[in-house]
Amino acid sequence: MSGSRRIVVRISLAAVAIAHLVPFYLLLSLATRSPGSTGTIWVPQFAVHWANVTEAWTAARLGPSLVNTLVITVVAVVVSAVLGLCAAYPLARRVTRVNSTIMSAIIAGMMVPNLTILVPLYGFMVQIHGVNHRWAVILLHITFNLPLIVFLYTGALRGVPRELDEAAAIDGAGLFRTLFQVIAPVLKPTTAAVVVIVGVAIWNDFNFSVFFLQAPDVRTVTVSMQAFFSQYNVYVERAAAGSIVSSLPMVVLFLALQKYFVKGLASGAVKG
């Protein structure tokens, strides 16, 4: 690449970076200024108004909501990864006609946008007394993420030589020991991808949570933020501060474990 073209690329990249940082800069500027300030948020206020954070924290009940979100995310991620690996093993290792059909049916589940069945799902949840219970949303998150998880694990399992299973069997390992102590360690990169994709999707979920977790003490962060915002949308400074607080855990995790995030999310390419 010639020197002048290099400069053009470099300037373009800088422009991209700035353009993508501007919304976050404005958010930060809004979240740190005193409520009711009239000047533009392009010019940040010199002294940070920390009360925005504490007021958003209490008014939007962010503490309990963060705990709810964390519990739901951790349980759903762990259970769906285990169930997904279990399901993928026979589907990848015993390729019979029945199993191939089941595999296709599961993969087809990836093409179903969750909003399409929300109405009947709500009716069903009312019936089984799942509305406003965390377990209900956990079950839904597990189910709706399973197709992708099975897809990722079967793909990865095809690259693991069968000799490994056989060697484990010869050494006397049962099915579960073979799967979780011999095979699973080889699949660690896939597990990392699964945890990242599913973890981000569940942590940020709004579609399910807003339907099934309306009661204040079971709300997740997104539902609390939406309730807070629609109630007090005149206090944009606090809403902005709340937005930052609710996103911060994921952002910190992302910056610390970036390699896994980018690789993992690219392999699943879930949303958007």
């Binding site: 970076a17 919304p23 089941i102 179903v112 069945i117 009716g123 010869i170 999310l265 690219a266």
Partner: protein, 306 residues
């Protein structure tokens, strides 16, 4: 070799045990299958049934109305608007994300110092909730005190109330969605670009191909598998757009920016019209299948092997 794929000598005792394990390992997929049947397949069937009734969402009684709900959609102006919006959200943001994402990937692929930082910045919104990203855009485009209008005023122009304008508000939603997820396409294309062998591009260069020809004739055809994945995922995700709309406009003014998802929410909880809402869910499913499979099929055909 047995049908289960184990290339083994069936007479060896230890291995025979493994062979007998054969069908029983199928039990491992039963829990997953049970969940998928209970929470996806069964509600889906139930949704189709609801859509043939006038059920209000809570009363124990209802009437069969046959295809009445679907007939009603045909003459409902609201459904026409919402359907069009949903298609705009899905198609426009898919095209934008992929065009811009490809552009970003080409820039990042030049291997210039600092590329990793730019990648991180573009990628960041993906891990933030789309509801929160919607609010961030609300702070920017809102009428009074929005950052965008401050710029217009500074340049002596009149402020624009973007979210009150039915057409502009749709574009704001497309832009917000594109901004958030352009990083997905970017990362997919970047890894696609990095898997293209240098020798192909060098051979084209030696044969006298201009940079433009090299892009259209070599890079892009070899990138088609990434395009297929990215576009299909984006189209289906675009149809499911919900939180950004709730955050930015709530579907308004009126229902001018509603998608199938937000109108279903409104019909079910607001107007207690569960049968109609379920019918729209079925419609949305058909749209997803149609649009997803069309995209997949159209792009698959353009993929080339090395």
């Amino acid at each position: 070799m047995s049908t289960n794929g184990y290339a083994v000598n069936r007479t060896a005792p230890t291995v025979r045990r493994l062979g007998r394990r054969g069908w029983r390992i199928n039990l491992l997929y039963l829990p997953a299958l049970a969940l998928l049947l209970t929470f996806i397949a069964y509600p889906f069937v139930r949704g189709v049934m609801y859509s043939l009734t006038d059920w209000n969402g809570f009363s124990p009684s209802y009437h069969w109305v046959g295809l009445g709900q679907y007939q009603r959609m045909l003459s409902d102006a609201r459904v026409r608007t919402v359907l069009l919006n949903t298609l705009v959200y899905a198609v426009a943001s898919t095209l934008l994300q992929n065009a811009i994402g490809l552009g970003y990937a080409l820039l990042l692929d030049k291997g210039i110092r600092g590329s990793a930082v730019v990648r991180t910045i573009v990628y960041l919104p993906i891990i933030i909730s789309n509801l929160i990203m919607g609010y961030i855009w609300y702070f920017i485009v809102r009428n009074n005190g929005g950052a965008l209008n401050d710029v217009l005023i500074a340049f002596g122009r009149d402020p624009v109330n973007l979210l009150a304008d039915r057409h502009l508000a749709v574009l704001v939603i497309v832009a917000a969605n594109t901004f958030q997820y352009v990083g997905v396409a970017m990362v997919l294309y970047l890894s696609g670009l990095q898997s293209i062998p240098r020798s192909c591009l060098e051979a084209a260069e030696i044969d006298g191909a201009s940079p433009r020809q090299r892009f259209w004739r070599v890079t892009l055809p070899l990138l088609m598998p990434s395009v297929t994945v990215s576009m299909t995922v984006n189209v289906i995700g675009g149809l499911n757009i919900f939180a950004v709309i709730i955050a930015l406009t709530g579907g308004g003014p009126g229902y001018a920016t509603s998608s199938l998802g937000t109108i279903m929410y409104q019909l079910y909880f607001g107007e207690q019209n569960a049968g109609y809402a379920a019918g729209l869910g079925v419609l949305m499913f058909l749209l997803a299948a149609l649009l997803g499979l069309t995209t997949l099929g159209a792009l698959r055909r353009r993929e080339v092997d090395l």
